[in-house]
Symmetry: C2
Subunit: 144 residues, 2 copies
């Protein structure tokens, strides 16, 4: 299965945020939009970085009360682990495991085309398992 | 596959924290111990709650600068989605998807026996895939 299949099911929308936005706003948007990460981008196409819940916790540990004066650009990760629409999901799973990231932006031809979360991967595997179960049940029913 | 198989591979240790601990200490421990969640427990056996990175972000959004005065008990979730060692991994995946949680404490006979993260689930699936590949390669080699 390719990343494309996950995006086709969940949509290609990605929550993005500008570098200069205060960290507190980023945190509020994650909560409001029910996402665990925001892609940092000025134009919604070029990926400049990523900020997730772990980055905010790390920043809180580092800056404490001073975090209120920090912007997304101060605490984001600039080196983004990404994939393409035609990357096998298995390869994305390996990236998530190896780099301990839970969100992998999908970039096609230099432009942001979606995002795959570790939750999406587990959900798609669960659907595969349900499908396998249905196929086996039908095969069994056909024999009896 | 059962949850037990994941615990046998990763170990049964669980990072726990007391209810009265400041939230900032919980955040620092998550970072230091490379975990995304801490189980709230006074004795390391009975589960009183759970606190993860998302809970800390949510608390930061809610309390802002006042978060420094809050304790784990103020921001933890008291209703914990848990499983047992003999729960099928597939069922844990369904719980993670349905309740949008990334960490499921394992409780056997009322006592904490481990914790399974969404990352553990993906890692174990990846290992299954590698195994399937090896089996197929061996089967192919045997034929040629």
């Amino acid at each position: 299965m390719l990343v494309r299949a996950i995006l086709d099911a969940k949509g290609h929308g990605v929550a993005t945020i500008a570098r200069a936005t205060p960290v507190a706003t980023a945190a509020a948007r994650m909560q409001m939009e029910h996402v665990g990460a925001l892609v940092v981008s000025a134009d919604g196409r070029r990926v400049e970085g990523i900020i997730d819940e772990r980055d905010i916790v790390r920043a809180y540990v580092r800056y404490g009360a001073d975090l209120s004066g920090k912007s997304v650009g101060d605490v984001m990760r600039g080196e983004v682990i990404s994939c393409a629409s035609d990357t096998p999901v298995r390869q994305v799973m390996a990236k998530m495991t190896r780099h301990r990231v839970r969100h992998v932006p999908v970039v096609d031809g230099g432009a942001l085309a979606g995002i795959v979360s570790i939750g999406d991967v587990v959900k798609s595997r669960l659907e595969e398992l349900e499908l396998e179960k249905d196929v086996m049940r039908d095969a069994f029913m056909a024999r009896t």
